[in-house]
Amino acid sequence: MDYVPHTPEDQKKIMETVGIRTIDDLFTDIPEKYKLKNLLDLPSALSEQDVSALMKGIGNRNTIPPITLMGAGAYYHYIPAVVGHVISRSEFYTAYTPYQAEISQGILQAIYEYQTMIAKLTGMQVANASMYDGASAMAEAAVLAAKTLNRTRIVVIRSVHPEYRQVVKTYAWANGYEVIETPYEKSGRMNRDALLEAVDDRTAAVLLQSPNFFGIVEDIASIASDVHAKGALLVSGFTEATSLGILKPAGDMGADFVVGEGQAFGNPMNFGGPYLGIFAGTDKFLRKIPGRLAGATVDREGKRGFVLTLQTREQHIRREKATSNICSNEALCALAAGVYLVCLGKNLKKLAELNFQKAHYLKETLSGLTGWESVFSAPVYNEFVMRCPDPKTVNQKLENAGIIGGYELGKDYPDLKECLLFCATEMMTKDDIDRVVSIIMGS
């Protein structure tokens, strides 16, 4: 099934107007020897019915678990029905970036509202229309800091998501910046002294997450002033967006940028993407912040309307001088996040509390198992680290029951062999937890 509407007559007429006898007359600019003589070696075309059967078959090769104990950067949450209904409006999902504002007021206003809600949640004055994901958002914040301050050093705490640190390193390497990792302390929180020691006058930014990769809530305020004193910027991330429902906004604690993964706001896990990078900053950076910004203005009759604004920041105007190269972002995911936040409203706090409670009940229950112990003493949101006998077997047992177990920290943290990172959201019932326990105990 190709989607070409032309009938043979249409094609004939068109070719006459164009003045060609064969289609290949249009491809004469291609050096003869590079013209493909044969069809590409691909499976042959399928009817819609056949492709639908094929794809369902592939989808069925995946196992969707009844219970997921895995968080670690992607979170299993209930998505209210309204979210799917809104983003399925084809005026939204079949549109391009809103370059033509007068026929794009829908998405422009929706993004303006999204930016506003993100700013409120993060305690910032500015939020953009989204980045690719949480990790690249953090990396871009680091690069932005280095470029604006003309500094070359990035300090990142090891309790930041391992993949986020990898992305930061890749971006830093490409720009010739140096990345220094500083340790967390026994409690699981950042090691304040080690961190501040690492921050010097070459340091552009300090990167952390709260909750961090271990689910632990950091005391951001405790370092903000010292970091600023060294002239560096504080980039505060988070693992789990719903934590913004109960945690004090990083913006209120001295962060210059708040970056993080917004998937938990109404986007399915999608095997890792598409997600959306949340990027917010203080007023100071309004004209530096990467990515799209929807802004309010008026039309010729003084009526309020919205446009993409401050585009002189961006690559299509600034070209090599732009701080970022981002063009397309994750608009539809941001729309979903916006709808989610409007739907939850003040209930986002209740939802966060529920996540907190489920996780703490799971933590307590697992701590009760012989040989199991909670590794860190610092308070957590909806994830936590457990040391247990033979984590691999634990996960294997759960896997055999069709359940996704915890994240094996050993591969990223040699000091955390025998440790699993667990997550519980509002989707986990008490029965699920009991079931998990009995599976773990069973031989």
Partner: protein, 481 residues
């Protein structure tokens, strides 16, 4: 239209949170109070208010499903509905990225085969699917080149980019620490070979070429270009945003390109969602494969697994594996069209662009009068001279006729540029109606320029004040709910 915040009323809500079935612990009893927030300042509306709000917003938005969308360089072809339905199957949407490989064989197979199909279509040794969009793919591709030289211990500090290139090209080069050097275009819209030869030195990592370029023209001297770049040990990079022009006709890998990034949300018909999600796979030749991002999918017998052991990789450019759900749509699309369908798609995309070019040629200045590929570029110069009507006015006037305008003022080397990409999914009637309208507007510009300058007249808002937006930025609502 009111903001959702202006519709908010204390005490309303669009959802209720389930009661807890576990012991209630107050967060405050565990987390220090000064790390907790008071309450969240989000709107309070009923579900009906939410739905009407976004339904009304959607009515003020224009998508491919609404009408013709010849936005040059964006390949706004029709997005088949079956791809949407497939991508919404729980089997694809509900899996955690860290699910054990045993649980994710379907997803792994799909990504593995997508890599294979793309490698075949574009003649590359392998593809990486991690980049989230075209620009992200450019960045990744340049990083791969940078890594190659680093491993070889070569210092190369410059990257060449034609003046016609898309802004993301220089930006991506710069974001990889390269000094961007601009190559001139020649009189027929191609690369100025002499200038290239002059610039292409041993300190140059490579040339980022868009082919067909942003003028919709195929680089006739591609062999020479490749020869020059390669002879100095550089790499030839292809910005594949325009890949819809040549599927099944020729292959960048065969033409001498060492790296290519694609935009699945263009060529492979995944809807663009008002600006994303996209997907920007990067394809490379043999010797660059070791530097692609981690992890890689490997096939063992009939089953698939992740391989994290890639010492020479650039590392990661994002978390997890890329915009998987977008790949699902692209995969479905490739399987639906098959090799003949993809070929026909490119052939008709090119045919339609040449048809529009021929029909509009008498009425607008054609930037370069030669056979174009999937898009054609005009200049509004004539209209500016004749009646002071600018390309932006023509674009706004098209809104009144129910069209999404072409891309305008890009490429920058064409003054008052009008870049039209009709795509293969549009019928002759649609093309004719659009051309008739463009011609009508050309006449309006002559006979009634003020009408055109005052456009749009029929949209929910009239022409918006961009200057005010930038001078007095208001990107977050400051009011109180």
């Amino acid at each position: 239209m009111e903001l959702i915040f202006e519709k908010s009323r204390p005490g309303r809500g669009a959802t209720t949170i389930p009661r807890s079935d576990v012991p209630e612990v107050a967060a405050g009893s565990i987390i220090d109070k000064n790390l907790l927030r008071e309450e969240v300042d989000l709107p309070e509306v009923a579900e009906v208010d939410l739905i009407r709000h976004y339904t009304q917003l959607s009515k003020r938005n224009f998508g491919v499903d609404v009408g013709f969308y010849p936005l040059g360089s964006c390949t706004m072809k029709y997005n088949p509905k079956i791809n949407e339905d497939i991508s919404r199957l729980p089997g694809f949407t509900s899996l955690h990225p860290y699910a054990p490989a045993e649980f994710s064989q379907g997803s792994l197979q799909l990504m593995y085969e997508t890599r294979q199909y793309l490698s075949e279509i574009f003649g590359m040794a392998d593809f990486a699917l991690q980049p989230a969009a075209g620009a992200h793919g450019e960045l990744t591709g340049i990083m791969v080149i940078k890594k190659f030289f680093e491993k070889k211990g070569e210092k190369r500090s410059q990257i060449l980019i034609p003046d016609a290139a898309h802004g993301t090209n220089p930006a991506s080069g710069a974001l990889c620490g390269y000094q961007v050097v601009t190559v001139r275009s020649n009189s027929e819209g191609g690369v100025d070979i002499d200038h290239l030869r002059e610039l292409m030195a041993e300190i140059v990592a490579g040339l980022m070429l868009t082919n067909p370029n942003t003028l919709g023209l195929f680089e006739r001297n591609i062999e020479q270009v490749a020869e020059i770049v390669h002879s100095r040990g550089g790499f030839l990079y292809c910005d594949g945003a325009n890949a819809n022009a040549f599927m099944g006709k020729t292959r960048p890998g065969d033409l001498g390109f060492d790296v290519i990034q694609l935009n699945l949300h263009k060529t492979f018909s995944t809807p663009h969602g008002c600006g994303g999600p996209g997907s920007g796979p990067v394809g490379v030749g043999e010797k660059l494969v070791p530097h692609l991002p981690i992890p890689r999918i490997v096939k063992r017998g009939d089953s698939y697994d992740w391989d994290y052991d890639c010492p020479d990789s650039i590392g990661r450019v994002r978390a997890f594996y890329g915009n998987f759900n977008v790949m699902v749509k692209a995969y479905t699309y490739i399987r639906s069209l098959g090799p003949d369908g993809l070929k026909r798609a490119s052939e008709i995309a090119v045919l339609n662009a040449n048809y529009v070019k021929e029909r509009l040629k008498p009425h607008y200045d054609l930037a370069y009068d030669r056979v174009c590929m999937h898009e054609c570029v005009f200049s509004g110069n004539r209209q500016v001279k004749e009646s002071g009507v600018h390309t932006s006015d023509i674009a706004k006037r098209l809104l009144d006729y129910g069209y999404h305008p072409p891309t305008i003022y890009f490429p920058m080397i064409v003054p008052e540029a009008i870049m039209i990409e009709p795509n293969e999914t549009e019928s002759k009637e649609t093309l004719d109606a659009f051309c008739d309208t463009m011609i009508a507007i050309a006449h309006e510009a002559k006979e009634n320029p003020d009408l055109v300058k005052s456009a749009p007249l029929t949209t929910p808002v009239r022409r918006l004040d961009d200057v005010k937006a930038a001078r007095e930025p208001d990107v977050c609502w400051k009011g109180r709910m």
